[in-house]
Subunit: 403 residues, 2 copies
């Protein structure tokens, strides 16, 4: 064996891990450059409306933090996260009937990291994760980088059949990934009976539950339904975030789970990023403590309710026959369905020519189905653009269906 | 096979991935609770001195960001990071002679995430990483969670022997992990000849280089030596951070690498945390643009130089015979060596009784050696505490050696 100096060109593909080979660009992220072109009305992102950002309150709070505790807020923090912030979050959950305290909570660099760390701690290559059909793309991606196998269960009746079959095949699923409230991408909410059924199956087969809960506070009508965590606290890992109700730019989320599991996440987080942004946590803790979170939330929910109404009304008014859509009671999204033989991927090109954009639904279906669907966001755009965007979309679909 | 409801107790250990089983608590993080007790003089952390935090400048800048670009700074950002920040960072590197632009840079959630993502993208279980003896604990931990095998090379002559042997055994190392400037934990700097040798070996055997560079700007004396990146830009992945020179509480670091590799890291980061704190990036970009970073750095280097001098003088004055230590030209740390038959782990208990703390050196040696060493930080403590701390440490060592 002879070692000669190389020609100083490196092919990084030769060095990649098998995990890296499973990484695909997010359909959403990849779209953003196209979608952000001037003139395009984009229903593609999952962005909160910037008018909900409490800029004046933040000016006051940031000055206070720098003034009163700058030396701590700019320093390294504990891996578990800011004490006061976890205390405030725990209080809110206790008020909602959960039996937890601040040590059941670890702060993460937004809930995407919460998903990633949970996957890292639980998943070996080939492990099974049960997902909704459809389900949040960013979670599916994270599970894939740990080379998990994603198995979809579309209807409730399917869940037990799928889980039982997996168990009999010696591949007991590690966890069921669920977004019970106003899920991404459909905006649909699980009924109480559906929650009870999911918990029953998880217990019967001894499977964990990963409850992703970014939208629960954004309910427009109807009563809040119980967290899966409150129904099966022994096996549920619940994820929360400030990205939809405060400011995504702070990158703050959290995990609620049994303390034994929080400890394991803490170990994983030490080598992932040591701790989440300290300054942002100090700011968020004060924001909660002053009661500003609850106050601002009222306005956000009201704004998004109106935007949902406007979106539904516009769809009703302009969409051609044969097109259907979900009717969310909360959250940021709804899913539009074209007649079965149409592919939303082709529609995307036509829509872009008309300066309107969405996310193709297929990306959210781990089994490759959903080709005739696309996701629409109604939180980000101003009211005029919602109407105009739906008009353009309807016209694109008409052109597309005529072809 | 019969499925019965479980007794509603869950043993999370039964669900853990093989990666999770490789996660151990950081010797540093585990110490922090003990070490932060009132009255204890701690040389254990790697904290910058809070007096270096530019609080007044930050007040101005944060108001400007909220005022002028709040809607963007509080929103989701691109996965690659803030455009202006990457532009400013690229400018600094170009001034130092590097041939890069902003697209050779991706912002990470501090350099710990940069290490983690690099490991995720490159390492499969059983892959070899060559590390210094000793080397940065947080990196060793991150590599371990991807189940890499860490192989130490203590002396320069060893490096080629080790690499060649590994290659002949069919296990070509994936990369060499190096901290060329004022490395953690010794504070020692690689000479130009050592850098040239490392690059030669990396090229000869076609191995990547991971250059971790958190301390380079903190040089007290002597001339800056070239980045490994500038010597082998085709195969070097370089990591930078604001944690030692600006504010660790913002959690901002970055990777400089060939664009092909930056693209791969971008994919990994999408599912790890989508993007790093947007607001903090807007603040950092302005801080750099206004020239405040360079200005503040002068004061930081001056402060740490004095503290290093004081630490060395105090060690000289109080340490019993047989104890030696490194003499760093920059950075935040030095490594103390006890006579060979002593174990710093036992000394730690004695020291704690005297209200002084350090980090045992063993944790930094991937081969389990270094039992008679410990790391001392001189950036965080005030001057009086440095003197008093070294006195206590000397008295602890005397007690310990007498036993």
């Amino acid at each position: 064996m002879d070692f000669k100096p190389t020609n100083m060109k490196v092919d990084f593909n030769e060095f990649l891990s098998s995990s890296a080979k499973c990484m695909k660009p997010s359909a959403i992220r990849a779209l953003l450059s196209v979608v952000n072109q001037p003139g395009v009305i984009s229903f593609a992102g999952g962005f909160p409306n910037p008018e909900t950002f409490p800029i004046e309150d933040l000016k006051t709070i940031m000055m206070e933090v720098l003034e009163e505790e700058g030396a701590k807020a700019l320093q390294y923090g504990g891996t578990d996260g800011n004490w006061a912030l976890r205390e405030e979050l725990a209080k809110r959950y206790v008020n909602e009937g959960l039996d937890i305290d601040k040590d059941n909570i670890i702060i993460t660099t937004a809930s995407q990291q919460a998903i990633d760390l949970t996957a890292k701690v639980l998943l070996d290559p080939g492990d099974i994760v049960i997902c909704g059909l459809p389900s949040y793309l960013g979670a599916l991606q994270a599970f894939s980088t740990y080379q998990a196998k994603l198995v979809g269960a579309e209807k409730d009746e399917e869940l037990e059949a799928v889980v039982r079959a997996m168990c009999l095949a010696g591949k007991k699923p590690k966890f069921i990934y669920a977004i019970p409230d106003f899920q991404n991408p459909t905006g649909i909410t699980m009924t109480l009976e559906q929650r009870q059924y999911l918990v029953r199956i998880a217990r019967k087969y001894d499977i964990l539950i990963l409850e992703d809960s970014p939208y629960k506070e954004i309910r427009f009508e109807g009563e809040h339904l119980p967290y899966l965590y409150s129904m099966a606290p022994e096996r549920t890992i619940m994820l929360g975030t400030f990205s939809k109700t405060f400011a995504p730019g702070f990158r703050l989320g959290w995990i609620v789970a049994p303390k034994e599991f929080i400890h394991q996440i803490n170990l994983a987080k030490q080598s992932a990023d040591l701790c989440s942004p300290t300054f942002d946590q100090f700011v968020a803790a004060r924001y909660l403590k002053k009661g500003l979170f609850e106050k601002n939330l009222v306005g956000t929910v009201e704004m998004y309710r109106k935007k949902r109404d406007l979106m539904l009304k516009s769809l009703e008014e302009y969409m051609p026959e044969g097109v259907t859509w979900t009717k969310p009671d909360g959250g940021l999204f709804l899913l539009v369905k074209l007649p079965e033989w149409y592919d939303a991927r082709d529609l995307f090109e036509v829509a872009l020519q008309k300066n309107v954009a969405f996310v193709i639904g297929e990306a959210f279906f781990c089994d490759g189905s959903g080709k005739n669907t696309f996701r629409v966001n109604y939180s980000f755009m101003d009211d005029e653009s919602i109407i105009e965007g739906v008009k353009r979309l309807a016209s694109a679909i008409e052109d597309f269906m005529r072809k």
